[in-house]
Symmetry: C2
Subunit: 137 residues, 2 copies
DNA sequence: CTAGTTGCAAAGAGTTTGCATGGCG
DNA sequence: CGCCATGCAAACTCTTTGCAACTAG
């Protein structure tokens, strides 16, 4: 969708690809990059382009008004499904093989064709589960 | 979280449980129920309570400013994973058996513990895929 | 040069909240 | 009766947009 390569877009892409799979608000990105020269509206406009191209996932967290943006266009993201820990926010990439198997199984059993880019599976990662276990139960 | 059983909460619960797994905006719900006596703010407040209890999923669609709310607290939703068609919006429940298998596989392979309530898998259902195929390719 | 992109500030819109009123228990 | 929930409207704040200035090609 974009036609020119601007400094601002390069800044944003560098930021996002260096932190693929982490969630940020538009404000956070803008604040981090403002010293290097990008405005909040440029961030929004470029994020919108990326989202339209399916390279970006957006979600709203509970109790929050701001959207969380997550870049999922990296090469290591291309085939894998994303597992996102609700506690620490980290993302795990499911292995390509496992993903392949899931996608095929769902297509066969449910006649449903998964969009790997748009799908994020939420839950708790090993570490956070361990911690929760120590605290509560 | 709620302490009293009000007419408004009953209205909202009836609406949502009768349409489990469909997505609505707060405005849509309020408009549908307004004749029966509920205000937009009551809708928001009750939705917030439900979300906090994990009975409700929220997401923002591309190019839209409004949040989509989806009730996932029904009994048939308890065990199943949700497959949501991006085209027609319908939800398919993955079978309990298949879900169980997936959850266990992911726990074993990735050390990741899926939250079935919070996870929605996006893609295209059989019908919509067929249609898309006829149109384009 | 020409068209796309940026910045700024103002507009826009969904969501939240304060406060008085009404209803559940 | 006391406390919670509702309604209304005002307040909030994130996001979008208009427009002039600036660049990339």
């Amino acid at each position: 969708m974009p036609k020119y390569n601007t400094k601002q877009r390069a800044l944003l892409m560098d930021f996002l690809t260096a932190r693929a799979d982490q969630e940020f608000t538009a404000r956070e990105i803008a604040e981090a990059l403002k010293p290097q020269g990008i405005s909040l509206s440029a961030v929004y406009r470029n994020l919108a382009d990326l989202e339209e191209d399916g390279l970006l996932t957006r979600r709203t967290r509970q109790k929050s008004r701001e959207n969380q943006y997550r870049y999922v266009g990296g090469s290591s993201c291309a085939e894998a499904l994303h597992l996102s820990c609700k506690v620490c926010g980290k993302t795990i990439h499911m292995s390509g093989q496992e993903t392949e198997f899931f996608v095929k199984t769902i297509a066969a059993n449910d006649r449903f064709f998964l969009d790997r880019h748009e799908t994020v599976l939420y839950g708790t990662c090993r570490n956070c589960r361990k911690k929760a276990g120590e605290d509560e139960r």
